[in-house]
């Protein structure tokens, strides 16, 4: 067993961990030792090839194939230096006032979060991209929405020097996306924070962690860890968990913390999503250019869905089409003519959906589709089809219909063709990329896991600073809100550091 000791250890390097590392890094100048322990690898710039399966295997948990316990939904999240910020599209959204009010967390105001969120949007270069860099896949979405009088909006995205590779979800090969791997972590390292990759934290004990450092696989990507492979015990006077909404609750459950925290793992939400496709009569620019430039959220409250432009790669596209055989192949052969829209359903924290662990201590996500979420997916699919046809598509793939190919002539019958009864888990391809909750904020251990500034109830030295803090769904792309919450946690640690480190 190897030993190490730090004043502060941060577990995870994504939107939460990277932010905490940056915001605490000035403490290094006062002599404090701070480490970030990241399970995934750190890739060299030239290793971002954009090849689908190769990059998914290198950058995602389970190669992007992490499944819910019943196998009916894939949840994609990053496992690399920079966490999920390496594989998102950089869409930068401010938290909504109505959502933060509904969270009803004492001492957490929308004004405070909004102010912090704007700071990180500026720091990570979030802006509206120029019109001449927007491809037809996105422009057709705008055209369709406007024809239907929908209130389409443009996403701010955090890119700098984008060349339009369209490979955001496979890690930008041009280092244009300004995730924590490009901004917060390098800032933290410059100030003296140590980042240790390939280091999986197994358990958290009383101001100590056990961890395992893996060797670089012979055919794998990324740098070897700066630590020798092997098992480690790491003492830390302050521990901040930022391993994400699946792995942070799982780590705490593995560590036996569920005994005093009955809400640990509960309240999991994830914005279940369906990828909608349509075929146009002519080729359009789709896989070139930033994939996610516009969204439609006017039905978020009434219809439980948000639509976003998107464009995926051959395998993910094939997997997202329902069915098989010739109708499936026909859409794949039309790849250069495809337009895509992502339907994100609004799910809510409930008693069933939660993170637990199996006998080996691995995370298990118990997830059941709520009626409102199914309604959102179906209504979102219908709205997407309307937008496609309004934009001139000749046929649409409809996953929630008995016959999944809809010709333009059938457009007036969309409400009859698509139906919730056709939503069968395991048949309709559903995936998610916004895992949230499991360590929700609140007042007491009986209704939450942490207080409003991320301190775990009953453990003065233990904090959480990632999407697991969300007490309920955020209803939009989460990284900016995660950073804002992580900033609150970091501020609190800075304020209390003398007491916490002295005791």
């Amino acid at each position: 067993m190897n030993h190490a000791a730090y004043d502060i250890v941060i577990v995870g390097s994504g939107a939460g961990g990277g932010t905490v590392a940056q915001e605490l890094s000035p403490l290094c100048r006062q002599g404090l030792r701070i480490a970030v322990l990241e399970k995934g690898p750190r890739l060299r710039d030239d290793e971002f090839t954009g090849r689908e399966l190769e990059m998914a295997g290198a950058l995602y948990e389970d190669g992007g194939g992490f499944l819910t316990a019943d196998g009916a939904m894939t949840i994609a999240f990053g496992s690399a230096y920079g966490g999920s910020t390496v594989v998102y599209t950089g869409t930068s959204m401010l938290p909504l006032e109505r959502v933060i009010r509904r969270w009803n967390v004492p001492d957490l105001t929308h004004a405070d979060l909004d102010c912090r969120a704007r700071k990180f949007m500026a720091g990570n270069h979030a802006h509206l991209i120029e019109d001449d860099l927007i491809n037809e896949n996105n422009k057709l979405f705008v055209a369709g929405c406007r024809k239907l009088n929908y209130d389409v909006r443009q996403f701010p995205v955090n890119i700098k020097g984008c060349r339009g590779s369209g490979l955001c979800n496979l890690g930008c090969p041009n280092q244009a996306k300004q995730g924590t791997d490009r901004v917060q972590l390098p800032n933290a390292e410059r100030n003296g924070v140590e980042v240790v990759t390939r280091c999986q934290v197994l358990t958290v004990g009383q101001r100590t962690l056990s961890a395992r450092v893996s060797a670089r696989p012979a055919d794998g990507k990324g740098e070897p860890s700066t630590w020798e492979p092997g098992d480690y015990q790491i003492d830390a006077r302050i521990i901040v968990l930022c391993a994400g909404a699946v792995n942070t609750p799982a780590l705490m459950l593995r560590s036996g913390l569920g005994a005093t925290l009955p809400r640990l793992g509960s309240g999991f939400t994830t914005h279940p999503a369906m990828i909608m496709l349509a075929e146009h009569a002519r080729p359009i620019t789709n896989f070139i250019g930033h994939p996610k430039s516009y969204y439609l959220d006017q039905f978020a409250e009434t219809g439980h869905f948000v639509l976003e432009t998107c464009m995926y790669f051959p395998f993910i596209t094939a997997k997202s089409l329902a069915g098989f055989g010739e109708p499936h192949s026909a859409f794949m052969r039309a790849f250069p003519r495809l337009q895509m829209i992502l339907v994100l359903a609004g799910d809510k924290a409930d008693a069933h959906n939660r993170v637990s662990i199996d006998r080996a201590g691995k995370p298990v996500v118990e997830y059941r589709f709520q009626p409102e979420a199914i309604h959102g997916l179906v209504r979102g699919a219908i709205a997407s089809a309307r937008i496609f046809f309004a934009a001139g598509a000749v046929r649409v793939h409809m996953p929630v219909a008995s016959h999944t190919t809809i010709e333009a002539a059938d457009a007036p019958r969309l409400d009859q063709i698509a139906a919730a009864a056709e939503f069968k888990p395991g048949k309709v391809p559903v995936s998610a990329a916004h895992p949230q909750g499991g360590c929700g904020m609140g007042s007491h251990a009986r209704d939450s896991v942490t207080d409003s500034r991320g301190r775990v109830h009953g453990f003065p030295w233990l904090f959480v600073a990632d999407a697991s803090l969300f007490p309920d769904s955020l209803e939009l792309n989460p990284y900016v809100t995660i950073m804002a919450l992580a900033d609150r946690v970091a501020q609190r640690i800075r304020e209390e550091a003398p007491a916490l480190l002295g005791s």
Binding site: L167, P314, F324, F335
Partner: protein, 130 residues
């Protein structure tokens, strides 16, 4: 062969899910098998066992209805068998088929040659390559 199964079963499944796979040559199948093997390499043994059982079930269940195994059915009958599994009233059966379908789609469309064949030519150079 991935999943240690008779290649004829797996190839019949591929041909039903992705009809274009019937045209693959030996080198193409070699690529497919490498992709599938890599996909399954780090998966739990329990999952691989389930997939093997599910594949065998696909091969032999049609005997009850059609009097012959999956590999000896016509393409239309094979499609009917898989559609039955895809729409099955038991979610575990649907999920099992979904898992196999995912492996087949990864094996076929995860190959650069298949991506090129459908016109997907994304490049890190982005607009510069257009």
């Amino acid at each position: 062969m991935p999943l240690e199964l008779d290649s004829t079963i797996l190839r019949a499944l591929f041909a039903t899910i992705v009809p274009e796979s019937s045209a693959l040559d030996a080198a193409g199948w070699c690529d497919v098998e490498q992709v599938v093997a890599a996909l399954l390499r780090d998966r739990p043994e329990s999952l691989k066992r389930q997939l093997r059982i599910f594949l065998r079930a696909i091969q032999w269940l049609p005997v009850a209805r059609y009097g012959r195994p999956f590999t000896r059915l016509s393409p239309a009958h094979r499609t009917r068998v898989l559609a039955h599994l895809q729409n099955h009233r038991i979610q575990k059966v649907r999920v099992g088929f979904w898992g196999l379908r995912t492996i087949v789609l990864a094996g076929y469309y995860g190959r650069p040659a298949a991506a090129r064949a459908i016109g997907y030519t994304a490049s890190p150079r982005g607009w510069g390559a257009a």
